[in-house]
Amino acid sequence: MFSTFDIKHPDYVALIEPDNAFWALVEKNSAINDKFVNAYKNKAEKFSDEMQKLRFGLALNAVYINPTSRCNLNCVYCYIPQEMRKHGDDMSRDALFEALEKLSGYFKQVMPENRLPQIIFHGAEPLLVKEVIFPAIEKFQDRFRFGVQTNGVLLDDEAIEFLTVNGVGIGLSLDAPIKQIADKTRKTWGGDSVFENTIKTIHKLKGYDGYNVITTVTKENMHCLCDMIDFFHELEIPAVMLNMVRCTLPGAREVKPDDYEVAQHFIKALDRTHELYKKTGRKIVVANFANILVSIMAPMARRLMCDISPCGGGRVFFALAPDGGMFPCSEFIGLPDFKGGNLFRDDINTVLQSESFKKVTDRKIEDIKPCDKCAIRHFCGAPCPAEAYEMNGGMNKIGAFCEFYEEQVRYAFRLIADNIVEDYLWSEWDKDTVTLFEASALNRL
């Protein structure tokens, strides 16, 4: 029943039940005994039920709203097509209010009362239409948790004041600690740098715990991920993401890093977060990696939904275009085949069940080769469907970074083996969890 997975650790090897994501790290000269196997068997059904719920039973809880498809920048890897970013349309204030009313009504039916659904104002560049989104945040702030993902160019003092006073989550994008490298991927249409501006904004946000920075990892910046961590730590940014570039569109593929090489740089950067923590007592959490650790130790407690199949696109969240077009995820917004309907005209549940959405929500790792035989298939998820479809020729193909995800999971298990996992996670990550299984407790019996 268990698959063996070599985690490249001197003392331990992993045994994994891929279907329910149960695992054990076993000392190389030991073996699991009957007591252990029986204890596992007693819980196996519960583990399977959990995975079933996580993969097929969650309700919608968030919407990415693109209040404009225009952008003031022209980043080389952007998943929103250039044409759209140059000449795209905006959502009017009335339309946004109407959308939020409709969504609020829907969420009331599907979410528990004590939880607020999330609305993220997202790409292209939402702050181009501040006058549309800020009044909406004011009016609907009791009904949603709001976040804004922005390139930061228009994040002036007034905007910062508004967003921080209202407790809005702010995501900024920065690809390198050095101008020359950052400018290789993120710049204006005229080719000008926005580096200094972004740094200034980051300084202004210091002390606000609702903000974070996303670094998109490409062949241009993978060599400086460690420096990036030093830089972020110095600026006291509590959490960052180091996201592999999604290779859905051709522009992104041009800056795709080598799979194995990027994994080594990524792991060095994670090591660096640990060194800094030990040296200063202050953590910097790489959230996309922390999510992998959580998905291994408490699958239901994960926060990001790219590394499970089906991914969160089209079932846990969807993306809304300025004209009301509904797509399973922002990643699909440039692919008309994936438009499932229109929020202003269609019933939300009908769109969630549409053929376009089902292409994504039915994408199961069991149907993908070689993932169907892979031990870590529920700690990876074979992201991303958009990438698989556009780059590798079909929904049931792998994404662009198979080897990277494997190395990432190996590293995560090594941290567990070395008992230093907590150093990589936000404090109280397991506050709302209960322990279902613990080998050390069995030994005490």
């Binding site: 000392e27 959990e50 239901m300 926060r303 846990v316």
Partner: protein
């Protein structure tokens, strides 16, 4: 150093942990991170 040695001798033969919670539905894609309602 002493601590490290202690840790060494206590190395378990098997490590296995599984925690659970009710999935509260806060999942997002990798395009944003929103941890909690932030107030300055």
């Amino acid at each position: 150093m002493k601590n490290q040695n202690q840790k060494q001798t206590q190395k378990p033969k098997i490590i296995s942990i599984r925690k659970s919670c009710s999935a509260d539905g806060t999942g997002l894609s990798h395009y944003i991170l929103m941890d909690k309602k932030a107030k300055k």
